[in-house]
């Protein structure tokens, strides 16, 4: 394993910057809708506050409920190690690491869903049920996107698919790659519980997916879950940035800087979506996800029939 400094820097930057991405989204949304809005760094304050709190556990719950927040963060961290966050190379790279990326996130989700069922609450069961429904449809789009990137680059690892040599593939496959970026961004919104799939701002339980699953978590555990969600958003955001902005000719510092800027831009993008769109009705969400997947399917067909 050959860990480059820029990969390590990018990794640390994402870990530190993650809570700010959601904050930027909130700022953008409030600016566009003419509201005051929370400060961009609100999540850092929340996390700090929660870590210093005690915890309340439901009497119904078992060790699953306590382990789930730990696994949410641990799996997201591991998923981040295989993504080339600096646009060049990841901390761990191996052929088929995109399977590990998607499936390790699945492990975290599995435990989060179990923790929700562990409470025996009807609301959390509802959130858990919706979460697995949407997540299994997200996987299709994700693997179609990876498939397209694999065919375009002839690579078997995320570092190869999204890394340095990516610049030249834009010339040959621009339409497919535009569609892939759009698909990945749409999946990011779904996976990270943002509008139009879920609304992180509402606290009316019946309308929510992700938030309702974590109603019972408190103190440091809630902090872990909030941080895990923010980190997942940042990692998926970094992936979108890596598709959109090839960083072949940049210095290490430059590519890390592009990552920082790109993440903030992703935050702004989410904010724009949230300011201009309403949340979809739940039965429409599978259609939204099928739409995202068909974008990826079209791009896959494009590159399969017109190999570079």
């Amino acid at each position: 394993m050959n860990i480059t400094t820029s990969a390590a820097f990018a990794f640390i930057l994402v870990l530190l910057l993650a809570p700010a991405v959601a904050g930027v989204a909130t700022r953008t949304k409030s600016a566009l809708t003419g509201r005051q809005g929370a400060p961009a760094l609100q999540l850092y304050f929340d996390l700090w506050k929660l870590v210093r709190r005690g915890a309340v556990f439901s009497e119904t719950t078992t060790w699953i409920f306590r382990l789930a927040p730990v696994l949410v963060v641990a799996t997201t961290l591991l998923a981040a190690t295989v993504v080339p966050l600096d646009g060049r190379v990841s901390l761990i790279r191996f052929s088929g690491d995109w399977v590990a990326f998607a499936y390790v996130l699945g492990l975290g989700r599995f435990f989060l869903v179990l923790a929700a069922l562990d409470t025996g609450s009807s609301f959390e069961g509802m959130g858990a049920s919706r979460e697995v429904t949407f997540a299994s449809l997200v996987e299709v789009g994700l693997f179609l996107s990876f498939g397209t990137l694999g065919v375009v680059t002839h690579e078997l690892s995320l570092s190869g698919m999204l890394g340095v040599p990516f610049a030249r593939h834009w010339a040959a496959n621009a339409p497919a790659l535009v569609m892939i970026s759009a698909c990945l961004f749409a999946l990011l919104l779904a996976e990270c519980a943002r509008v139009p799939v879920d609304d992180p701002a509402t606290h009316l339980e019946l309308t929510m997916v992700h938030e309702v699953m974590v109603l019972d978590h408190s103190g440091p555990d809630l902090a872990l879950i909030l941080y895990g969600s923010a980190l997942k958003l940042a990692v998926l955001g970094a992936m979108v940035v890596s598709v959109l902005v090839p960083r072949a000719n940049l210095s290490a510092a430059g590519s890390v800087a592009v990552l920082g800027g790109g993440l903030l831009a992703v935050g702004v993008g989410i904010g724009i979506v949230e300011a201009t769109m309403a949340r979809l009705r739940l039965p429409k969400v599978p259609l939204y996800l099928a739409g995202a997947s068909s974008l990826a399917l079209f791009s896959l067909i494009l590159v399969l029939w017109n190999p570079a």
Partner: protein
């Protein structure tokens, strides 16, 4: 080979033990000891073959038509034999205890006897190297598993399940008889070696034989649409029998297909595409139907249909690799298929055992009546959880390793030249199956073990004894070991893949050279995951150490009077996901002001097989007048048949 036969001898001794020894506890202990010892002995030659020793074979003059009986262990046999022995031994220990806990002595004795016979014939099925022996063992396997399914034969649904099973399995056997009879026509002895030698003269390029084998072995393997006997048979039988049926017996169908592919040589592309398509269909529909089940054992049974689908996707990839001249793909595909077969045998047996322990303690398999068992049966829950994580194929357990290999094969196919690259579309299908599997096992583990009890039944549950737990823990340990040490495990499977795909060993070594760094990285990834979990867990403990931690009721949005009936049920958990797929799931929903539950139906059994069978029955009735009980008419039929046969012999070239 001597150790193998000695091991089989010990297993036969177990049969005798179960029949002879008096005293229940004593008998079970001696029985379990004999099975475990026999399995350990018989597995030694299998390990030696896998470790690189040459294949073993013995030839016994049978004196029967069809030539000598050949028994041998080559790498493919060895790996299936190991699965048979490991899962067989674990379930012998579990099953003896389970049968004694639940039934009277005679049932327990009969079940132990038949079970040991099943293990012996399973070992024969995967080591037989001549047609007659193979078919005899195959048929004995069908009959002994039929008897085991019928253990609780006083229940009508068990008799129905047994009937459907025996009809299905015999239909499959008939097809195999035809296939082998046509294939071995003209060979001197009906040994597998001479079948392989008749490749050039295969009927119409072997196409019809391939379809016969696919259908004949497919009924046993239980892929869509031939799975219809499987869910009811698995649900009806005792838990350890379900475990062996699902873990091993259906895998003999896979073994048979792989053996046929090996003997028939490089397949044409359309064989490969057929297998791949069936695999994709089976993977998605199997898990979708599993998700709709509320009987925990039926859920696990349908999940086997999904995993058989994943195995077929691997096989299809391997066959594509051979057909399109892509050696690494052939090795990866077949290797992944065999590895997933072994993995599935391990974790599915584990899951059936855990589910069986819950059934033993609560008396119900209906998930809607369970809940909150994790507190009462913590070790069983841990075992079921490990099985669940393994089966949904996520790191760090063994299911991930084989699915990762399949995905790699799919992607490699994706950037190959020609039509081969369409196989890449298997990846999103597999991903969908993976996502659905996660939902399915979140439902199974969550509704059965977590939350609050949904009826009075779980209240009686307490942890089962060591004879139930040790076999589960043993299988769980193997699952963890394969997940954490893929570099050790994947290598022999690539060599087996090369053997099946007809690739030279040098190609396997090349494939391994390409895969090994990744396998080591997977190990780093899996171990890293565990390390990070431990570190964060310790940090969480440290932070919470000085804070107030208290217990309270579950937050229910201010509503005070919650009852356990307000929890999400198995039906409601699966409902949104099933509604996405609409009529494909075959679910009927019942909605009322206070009730919501869904009824799963098997689309193939209820809509296709049953109506077809009724029609066959109706038309068969028209033939009835020829059997009117008068002897001289029967003699006339015999004479006519003999005449017709003689005429054929004279006229035929």
């Amino acid at each position: 080979m001597i150790l193998f036969f000695a091991g089989l001898g010990m297993l036969v001794a177990a049969v005798v033990t179960a029949l002879v020894v008096r005293g229940d506890a004593m008998r079970d202990r001696v029985f379990a000891t004999f099975v475990v010892a026999g399995a350990s002995l018989a597995s030694v030659p299998a390990f030696r073959v896998l470790g690189g020793a040459t294949s073993l074979a013995t030839r016994w003059p049978s004196g029967l038509p069809g030539g000598d009986w050949v028994i041998g262990i080559d790498p493919l046999s060895a790996v299936f034999l190991l699965a048979v022995l490991v899962v067989g031994a674990a379930n012998a220990v579990y099953g003896a205890a389970d049968m004694r806990a639940g039934a009277n002595t005679s049932v327990s004795r009969q079940a132990n006897t038949t079970y040991a016979v099943l293990v012996v014939v399973l070992a024969l099925v995967v080591t037989a190297q001549s047609v007659m022996l193979f078919l005899c063992a195959w048929e004995m396997m069908a009959i002994s598993s039929f008897l085991l399914i019928m253990t609780d034969h006083h229940q009508p649904q068990v008799r129905r399940a047994g009937f459907i099973y025996i009809v299905a399995t015999h239909t499959g056997t008939l097809l195999l008889f035809v296939m082998f009879a046509v294939w071995s026509r003209g060979t001197a002895d009906w040994s597998f070696a001479s079948l392989a030698a008749t490749r050039p003269t295969l009927m119409w390029g072997g196409g019809p034989l391939f379809l016969l084998a696919l259908a004949g072995f497919g009924v046993k393997a239980g892929f869509v649409p031939l799975h219809f006997w499987l869910p009811s048979a698995h649900a009806a039988s005792p838990s350890h029998v379900s475990a062996v049926m699902s873990g091993i017996v259906i895998k003999t169908g896979i073994y048979g297909l792989l053996r046929v592919v090996m003997l028939a040589g490089p397949p044409p592309a359309w064989w490969a595409w057929t297998v791949l398509l069936l695999g994709a269909l089976s993977a998605v529909l199997g898990v979708l139907w599993a998700l709709a089940q509320h009987d925990i054992k039926r859920l696990l049974a349908y999940h086997s249909v999904e995993n058989i689908g994943i195995i077929l996707i691997g096989m299809g990839l391997g066959a594509l690799g051979t057909a399109y001249g892509h050696p690494i793909l052939a090795i990866l595909g077949y290797g992944a298929a065999v590895l997933h077969t072994v993995n599935h045998a391990l974790f599915k047996a584990l899951l059936f055992m855990s589910a069986g322990a819950v059934y033993r303690m609560t008396g119900t398999r209906n998930m809607e009546e369970l809940g909150g068992i994790a507190r009462r049966m913590p070790i069983t829950f841990a075992a079921f959880l490990i099985g669940s994580i393994a089966i949904i194929g996520v790191p760090p357990l063994n299911g991930f390793v084989s699915e990762w290999l399949v995905y790699q094969g799919l992607f490699r196919a994706g950037y190959s030249p020609g039509a081969l690259r369409i196989a890449l579309l298997g990846a999103p299908v597999l991903a969908l199956a993976g996502g659905l599997a996660l939902a399915c096992f979140a439902k199974a583990a969550g509704v059965v073990f977590l939350g609050r009890p949904r009826s009075d039944r779980p209240l009686a549950a307490r942890e089962v004894g060591p004879a139930f737990l040790l076999p589960q823990l043993a299988l769980a340990a193997i699952c963890v070991a394969i997940g954490l040490l893929p570099a050790l495990i994947v290598r022999p499977f690539l060599f087996i893949g090369a053997t099946i795909g007809g690739q030279p060993q040098s190609q396997a070594a090349a494939a391994w050279a390409e895969v090994s760094p990744a396998a080591q990285s997977v190990a780093v990834f899996a171990t890293g995951l565990l390390l990070v979990v431990v570190v964060i867990w310790a940090g969480r403990r440290f932070v919470l150490r000085r804070r107030s931690v208290r217990l309270d009721a579950t937050w229910s949005c201010g509503y005070g009077a919650t009852t356990s009936r307000m929890q999400y049920t198995a039906s409601s958990f699966a409902a949104p996901l099933l509604s996405v797929f609409g009529p494909l799931t075959g679910v009927q929903e019942h909605r009322g002001a206070t009730v919501f539950h869904s009824m799963p139906r098997d689309l193939i059994l209820d809509r296709v097989v049953a109506p077809l069978w009724a029609r066959v029955r109706r038309s068969a009735l028209r033939l009835r007048p020829i059997q009117d009980g008068r002897l001289h008419f029967y003699l006339l039929y015999v004479v006519a048949a003999v005449l017709a046969f003689l005429t054929y012999l004279v006229v035929a070239p």
